[in-house]
Symmetry: D3
Subunit: 282 residues, 6 copies
């Protein structure tokens, strides 16, 4: 699986918004006061930690929206593993534009690389099992498109992007309808033929009821690994299995060993630490 970049036209509104947020109503008054318009700058985005890069196009756009003539050359494209002192990209051009754009570029790059790194760490933790790591809808408000991309950059897979592109039946839905069977049936009737249905179950009796239903994925939520093993066996390949709950670097291998197909983690998007990246003069 290779990583495909998002088109610049989808990224530009995010970068424009972040730049206007930082420039405010007067621009970079420090740089404007102190750096001559004609001064040039040459340097690089450099990793200060080991991790996985994501967001390099957003960093590039942060500089290019300020000055389209800046040269920006990528060394470590999104998805690359970097180590401290690795040069991610080199930059040269107007000193003002580089210094003014630095923080926005780094805020995007370090945030998304942090997510990619957290994802990558789980992905590595899963090995040698087949399970794939995926994300949730627990993303930073307004940044879901970017954060889901960062998950892909880290080797993860994407869960649904919103409430509209797949059905996920949870306990309160089932309670409203009366039974798992009725809930799935009604969902199947309502949804288009390209819409997948995932059903969340909390225990094996619920799973037993679900076994003959027309669902695509079963979400095994907060089950001990011993129960997961049984659940996977019960499912027997009828549909995909996804485990969620208490997923972290310490637990992920054991969960993967149960044979589930997918392991979903909210923390890779909502609680990842940034990857420390700096802008160094050459």
């Amino acid at each position: 699986m290779t990583l495909s970049p998002l088109p610049d036209m989808l990224l530009e509104p995010f970068v424009h918004n972040a730049l206007t947020e930082d420039l405010g109503r007067a621009g970079d008054i420090t740089t404007d006061a102190l750096i001559p318009l004609s001064q040039k700058w040459k340097g690089a985005l450099v990793a200060r930690q080991t991790g996985v890069v994501a967001g390099i196009d957003l960093a590039r756009l942060a500089f290019h929206l300020l000055d389209p003539s800046i040269r920006f050359s990528v060394n470590k494209p999104d998805g690359s593993v970097v180590r401290p002192k690795d040069i991610i990209a080199t930059i040269s051009g107007s000193a003002r534009a580089v210094i003014t754009g630095e923080r926005v570029a780094l805020n995007f790059l370090s945030h998304l690389s942090g997510i990619a790194t957290a994802t990558h760490n789980l992905v590595q933790g899963v090995k040698p099992h087949k399970a794939r790591v995926c994300c949730t809808r627990k993303t930073t408000p307004g940044l879901r498109m970017l954060e889901k991309y960062a998950v892909r950059a880290g080797g993860g897979s994407n869960h649904r992007f919103g409430l509209d592109d797949a059905i996920l039946i949870k306990d309160n839905h089932i309670a409203a309808v009366g039974s798992v069977t009725k809930a799935v049936q009604r969902a199947r009737d309502h949804a288009g033929h390209l819409v997948s249905i995932e059903l969340e179950v909390d225990n094996l009796p619920q799973l037993a009821e679900a076994l003959e239903l027309p669902i695509n994925v079963v979400l095994l939520d907060n089950m001990p690994t011993s129960t997961l093993v049984k659940a996977v066996k019960m499912v027997g390949g009828r549909f995909k299995t996804e485990a969620s709950g208490r997923v972290n670097i310490d637990t992920v291998k054991a969960i993967a060993a149960t044979g589930v197909d997918y392991i979903s983690s909210g923390s890779i998007t909502h609680s990842a630490q940034i990857l420390d990246i700096g802008l160094d003069e050459a």
Copy 2:
């Protein structure tokens, strides 16, 4: 210092954006298929961890933009310390609107409460020293207004909001001008009379040069605490002192003990874990 809410008119665009991101082009197809339009729901936002609340107005708006008739009653306003099982707010009204708005409400509330909590922890760590904890411009792109608010909710103080509302002179600025003295003078000439100037210094000789300059704050970056002690003494109250670099819950008290006025931390905004909060049916 009491916490002032931001006006709803500033918050609504953030919530509207997050809801449209989640609703996509078809809305909540699961809930629409399974929950009757007339069904009611009653429950509460409940803390699952100890921490500080921030973002309750955004959570409220997530429900109210979907259905203005939902009743939403706040128990623990922003800035409150909560413990597991504490009810933050109660909600009642259309089951569809509550279930559809849940994730957006929680994404805002848990993200901002996470920042407030990380801030609060540093603030508590500083005691009994006078130093105030403050933030940086290392915020999630597009959410700075909200994240700086969350820092205030956690008892922190705000650094500048953008490149435009204060002068912060760093090494590359000084290099371009030639000397600290010239840089400060040029900045003072350029800036309006209500614009403060902060100067970043890395060592005591630089600080010595700065002592007679018309600055408002000196940023003592990445100095060992022994150096900080000397720096604070050298400054002698001429202007405010701010320490930055390697600030965390383990180091903050020792830094505060040096007598600095402010301690700034990037991690409280860029790497805070969320505060776990759930929506429970009553």
Copy 3:
């Protein structure tokens, strides 16, 4: 399957945009010149043709954005079949607001009801066969959310909403990869576990190659009905079948009789005639 309304917050931007388009830079200069501010108006939205209603919430919002005090009472909700002279909704309140909002309200209502009606006609034409009528991405630019909703109001089912929520493999995709088998495998690897895959085939040998592949739907494009019969038999329930090409009111029953699960039509969204609806004074 019941029809769920889209939340007002998703509809308002469309209506606001249409009203500003119509009001321009001076508002309704005819009405402002001739209708007194205090004058009241009472009347109804009345069908002038037989068809299916869709878009009543947009019509309501067209009046309410101009004047929130207008009373608007719905008689025939979206999805209702109406006949000439049927009252769809009654309206009373400020004469200025009603007359000014009339055209925008009718433009939404008659356009979407036209799509719902065209869909309904195909849905009726399919009976007594099981096939469901669905739409395509051939929608009016910018209005896809609304037009797909109108298809649901007409009893149709929705195909994917964009390029991002399902995989549809066409001939140029296959050509690039080299074979149907490789294309499906690569798509399956790339896509999240909730993303469905549909494969377009033009003939039976292509279909034969696809039979053992992990796809969810096969699109049988532009096949004569005799071929469709064979195709459905070959598939034998392994995955859903969708027929497309030359679908219209004259051909749809014969296509449905082949046993396909879905019949997709571009014309119900891109070439539907409006449903004639008027605003009559009471």
Copy 4:
């Protein structure tokens, strides 16, 4: 009369909106999975029906917003009559960008060309009479600027663009004021000196009252052609005459033969079928 293109800066927001609608939150996941980034594509937009082209700049922008390096060369500019297999434009460049942009490009081009074609057909139907075909405000919400342009591309003339740029006095306006004479006088007082006034009349007595009033155009609504003949005679060139109601390809010549100056049709914008256009590989 030559057709002037609208500036790209007015068209880009429409195309950007349509692309983001189609790309959603993950972009074209099929093409990203299957088409190599470096693959090139060469082909053409080809007419599959006889008609008039409109919207070629929007089609170009759909590709250029995705990839500015795509070569796009226009063979049949807007306003051209095309026949099946006629090449409208040739395209070459990144295969991904072409395939991803195809649907948005075609949705604009076929929709607007459909309107231009419907207009052109009426324009042809009017010959050899002098009457000009014009549009109404019955346009697709949000697309009025483009659809009115398409009417011009089809050889038609534009009626007012909104409620703000001309006065059109209808029956409910007259009822509110009390008489045609008072209504026109009040409108004339209220309107700026560059604002034209059109008065709608339903019968000859109303027209008789209007003959000495300071109006620019009279709208003869839903009159039989025999009445239209009398009306045109009564007006005697005092102001322009416009006929509306039941205008279609079968009736338009007879209406034109009455000697009216303008014939307005809602269906050319609200109910035109698309012009079938495809994207073929070279």
Copy 5:
């Protein structure tokens, strides 16, 4: 001629934009620090100069967008002549919202009232002649809708609102075509039947050529009053006459005395001084 208010939905985006411009990223930090949330305020918008009011709805919205519960009662609606100490509107409610919204409310109200007042002064200066005062497109960028409204509030009439709603043929247009006659003919062909044509002439020979042309208005630019008298005589009521150039309070009566129908002034929109209005506590 009575003044019609613009709908709130057209005004709100202007006010929202102005408030966010003033509130920035932290809101009103002075008021938040010093005024208790529960404190009430009661007072009035009071004229400090003689003039004409315009923009009271924008002032109201400035407060209501911050706090919908504020009571705002209008004493002197738009178009009223006020004298120093006249109460324009009374306000009561949350002290914070009133103090925070004050500047935006006053900026709109004093700017637009300044334009209304400048217009009114010219309108008074014209008496007892019939000429009407009108505006131009020389408006503050982005505020044309509001400034043209203020002209109406001051008793003036509106010239065209943009480049799209009327034809105004100037010298460079004529030069490009070759003659006044050809220019008018081509314009007439190109324009819709509700589009008026105005022709600018600088001298009497040009006017002579225009006399038989199908135009609606002639613009007599920068002519001495003696020439204007001759021009008006030459036109003899064939079309409306408009004088422009060097229009001010000292010259306007003499220009009006020439018998022209309209006198247009750029300075009423581009160089009007504000009307001084204050917010006084009761």
Copy 6:
């Protein structure tokens, strides 16, 4: 102090908005009808009055957003003093784009140059005293960023940009708290360490109370010059002094002679006359 340009990315939204306002829904119908697409134009922006230029980048963008190939060469950059007939910039390229963009370009340039000129006149009036002229928040709604920039172009200094970037304590704030001392203390507690505090006083007793308070600037409002002299003496350099009220070209030198550091004027932004600038063909 040199003037720094604002980045194009901050200016473009203003220009785009102004162009769409002027182009409306049909573009420049006069120019489209009369000027051939291929016609070229060559000319210049020429001053017709003595003044100071501001806004040349906005003028450039007005042409470039319409046609990026237009050559635009600046002779008199922002901040330059120009005299009648001075060429500010030369322009060549598509005649249509130049003529269509002219009014928007001139509206920005003449409005902002008017503000720069009014500022410059006060700045000149102040000499030989040290006082600096500054602006207020009395700006045209929505244009504050540009108007504050124009003040800088005229040699003035900027007061705060909004309610969020500095504290300004006025009488109603003091009344709410109870005393000047308490108000300043509470403000100091509440504000970040880079936020300056200005206190408005109306008389010397108030000033006396303020002398020992931790404020950065005192605003001496509406004081006679004799009082100002005493106030400046009392302050004795403890903090900056700013005078406001009745500032105009006749009074400014006397105010400056009192020794105040800053003189703020609302009229330079809210009531400046435009600088007359024209577009002349070469």
